[in-house]
Amino acid sequence: MILSPEVLTIFILNILFFIFGTIAFFLSVKIYLGWDNESVEQSQYKLEKQSFLTATIIKYIFAIKVPLFLFFIFTLDKISNVLVGAMCGAGVVDATPYGIYLFILKIINLYLFAYWLVLHNEDMKNEKLPFTKMKFGFYSIVYFLFIAELVIEGLMFSSIDIDKMVSCCGTIYSSSSTSYISTIFSLDSTILLVLFYGTFSLIILFYKLKFRYIYAILNILFIIISLITLIAFFGTYIYELPTHYCPFCFLQKDYYYVGYILYTTLFLGTFYGIVIGFIDKSKLEIEKSFKKSLIFNLLYVLIVTVYPVIYFLKNGVWL
């Protein structure tokens, strides 16, 4: 078990999240089952009061949880210093069987939590509270993923054995590795780049055409393609090493913490893009989301593109 100040902070927050999240869960189920916005009965007025309390609890949990993802990554990177063999967060993720599942779950939850916050925000903009039932129903389901994340996180940090040697990212993400993730490193760079820039071009096209559902689907696709190309292609230019495929090392000081900017812009761009297809907002709000999505996606594309271009200008060759 590892108990660094960062891990302790996460544990303490998780205990608070569990207590308040569970209170909010029971109230959410009650509100979801009893909500009738047209009713003027005592029970409905009581539910309305409870809905504001519950929404406030969930809002603050999720508003902390979303940026806490960056703190989680920072923590992985920090505690890699005390694990023998680990060079970055990748070693910590690989140190226990829970790491990879926690990471995937965290990314899924990140989008779900942010979606809930947008849903709540839209609900509060309309005096008829059109999304109240939906947002509490949604939370009642997401709660189980939320609790699963807390439990797996606890299991992961408590099962790290600091005396046990772990693999470094160079081993975990090498093309000679037998892991399923290593298969993406053998993909042809040209195909990856065509897919990456092709998807982004389609995003621009459907931004112009304002086809919100296709735009949202393209953004889901863009997350996957971006992560693959980042690890398999652009990352090698950030590291200036053709064989280094780590998704964590560029979060370190040596690379000017560029990973935080990359992941944040990719998250914001794709999130706003996905939201367009899943919430019926006003035309003006949809236009705002379209713009935010395109700006952050464009920023992401520009940043990752700059690395190979600079490398080529400096060295006259591609990796």
Binding site: V40, Q42, Y45, E48, K49, M124, E127
Partner: protein, 223 residues
Amino acid sequence: MIELKNINKVFEVNKNNKVIALQNINLSIDDGEIVVLKGASGSGKSTILSLIAGLSKPTSGEVIVDKKHIAKLPDNFASIYRRDNIGFIFQKYNLISTLSVSDNILLPLIPLNLDFDELNSKLDIVINRFNISHKKDSIVKNLSGGEQQRVAIARANINNPKIIIADEPTANLDEKLSLNFIEQLKELKSLGKTIIIATHDPLFFGLDFLDREIAINGGKIVL
């Protein structure tokens, strides 16, 4: 038009201690009416005012103002409704004693982000109407009770509300000032405003310009 339908309001101090403030209240007030709610302390007059103003919600029943269900409004929308439709006159004026008369009167307009000229023109209208222009730069704590009352009335009118709510407006005034206040009510009525006054001051009873007097006792309308 203001309508209260089957309103009940219960204050739950704890599980064993419930105070029934209003019981099955049905009331409608037309636009431009001036209505006095009379009754002893604790009879439920102020509770009715706070329901109409959207300051509190009923335990059950409907509060409808101009076809809008006030009790169903979320807090942020209830604030907008109050800002746009309601002017308050309180028993203790609720002025900020360290600010000037102008600043106190302009307070309700802060969220509207109006420009300086617009603020001044609105201010000029109300300070002249309620005869307080000569004191516009004075600090409120230096004013007499009657002047403070006029500032409170001016503030209640600065956003040109359709409804004026006055809760025991003369409780802190002597008879002469109370009669002055009643004169000002006549002027407000002439502007077409709906005015609802909760009071147990006998000076209000039987006034010729009142449209209705409604007696409240034990949370029920008795007359």
